[in-house]
Symmetry: C2
């Protein structure tokens, strides 16, 4: 059974300000929920049409398919919806490669970038305050569980970058990513989908890098930010094999 208050709570978590105020967010689907249950995230409550999860009885609510449909953000809800607590922010380390996002707005892009960080062993993802919230349900869905393994922090980028060495920014022109020297430790900054890296951050970038175009077509478009992240992480990390 879903009470009116529970419905109201779940729906309210669709908005960032409510998530932040209550310190809660939702995860949907068997696989995603199990990834969060297996992690350090703390379960607040679970709503499920099948009692197949390893959760304590007082946090588990059996509900009907119709009730699930009512609160789900998915077209085709998958068995369960869970509410987890948003963990306290952990400061990024000063070691290894760190990805920095300057106002990435698309939830799918952020979700995919978190998944890429997970794949390439990037432990910290620093986001500007205007970057889409990583506890947005579309982001959580797109991360496929990677959000449990990557530390995502929202900081004032200007402040943060002041204390960082080896900062790389991705631009339409700059050092060729394939032929330039890349360190194992540093920060890689990627910009907004439409406008790239903002002017105030641009001036703080130590090294401008670019992914060159091949072939005879020289398009004026840039690559999608998630694809650019994929290629750049690939380049930084493959160098660590060769050493």
């Amino acid at each position: 059974m879903l009470s009116k208050n529970q419905i109201k709570l779940i729906k309210s978590l669709g908005q960032k300000k409510n998530r932040q105020q209550l310190g809660l967010f939702t995860v949907e689907g068997i696989k995603g929920i199990n990834e969060f249950l297996d992690s350090d995230f703390e379960l607040e409550s679970l709503f499920t049409t099948e009692l197949i999860f390893d959760t304590s009885a007082n946090k588990t609510n059996e509900i009907s398919e119709i009730e699930l449909k009512k609160v789900s953000s998915l077209k085709n809800p998958n068995t369960a919806l869970a509410i987890f607590k948003i963990p306290k922010p952990v400061q990024p380390s000063n070691d290894g490669l760190i990805v920095v996002l300057d106002d990435v707005r698309d939830p799918g892009n952020l979700g995919t970038i978190i998944r890429l960080c997970d794949w390439y062993g990037v432990e910290d993802l620093v986001c500007s305050k205007a970057t889409v919230d990583c506890y947005n349900s579309k982001v959580v869905q797109a991360t496929m569980g990677s959000l449990t393994r990557v530390n995502v922090v929202y900081l004032d980028l200007e402040d943060y970058l002041k204390s960082q060495k080896n900062s790389f920014g991705t631009f339409m022109s700059g050092e060729n990513i394939y032929t330039t020297n890349l360190p194992e430790t540093g920060v890689v900054i990627l910009g907004n989908e439409a406008n790239g890296i903002s002017e105030n951050i641009k001036s703080m970038v130590e090294r401008k890098i670019t992914i060159p175009q091949f072939g005879k077509n020289q398009t004026t478009e840039s690559l999608n930010v998630a694809n650019a992240t994929a290629i750049i992480l690939s380049e930084f990390k493959r160098r660590t094999i060769e050493k």
Copy 2:
């Protein structure tokens, strides 16, 4: 003015079978339409709220914002919608790097992959018959004009691959893409979002390649197919610089 028949025609082009029967597809927005007008694609008719395009008068229809909204597939229609003719399929060349998609279903993924082919100078993209139609409006939108510069062909993959040498398939395990030898000419096969490369195609792959995971997290998820394409094209193409 938009006639009832014109509205009916435009709406009918939302379906693949109608696009194929009529040999027509739609493009929306100023930038996208201009990319197609500047290419070898042939304009059938243009519907626009502003007469800002370099098109012949008998193919140009001035319409109102309200009329555009009625036929647009976008939430926020952008000035114009054009109908172009689907060109005759061109057989892929047997030179250079060719990307092959085995049942990629998501329009955003196909659009992004076409954009990546354009960026990396891949001239031919061979798709299985079950791969999403490249003239689907969401694909056209996601390609950002790259569809005018990449030859997309739908073929029976088993037939096609019989005559191909140097075929590479992407799998969760295989030769490490970063350390294995990669030729300049060959075909790279990427599989369906959920199921990867199908069984019958798998047996035709000469070399299985993989993008290794880094760091301590070993996720069971694979990378998104568009990101995998980005990383693989990046690896194949950077080798051509070093030579």
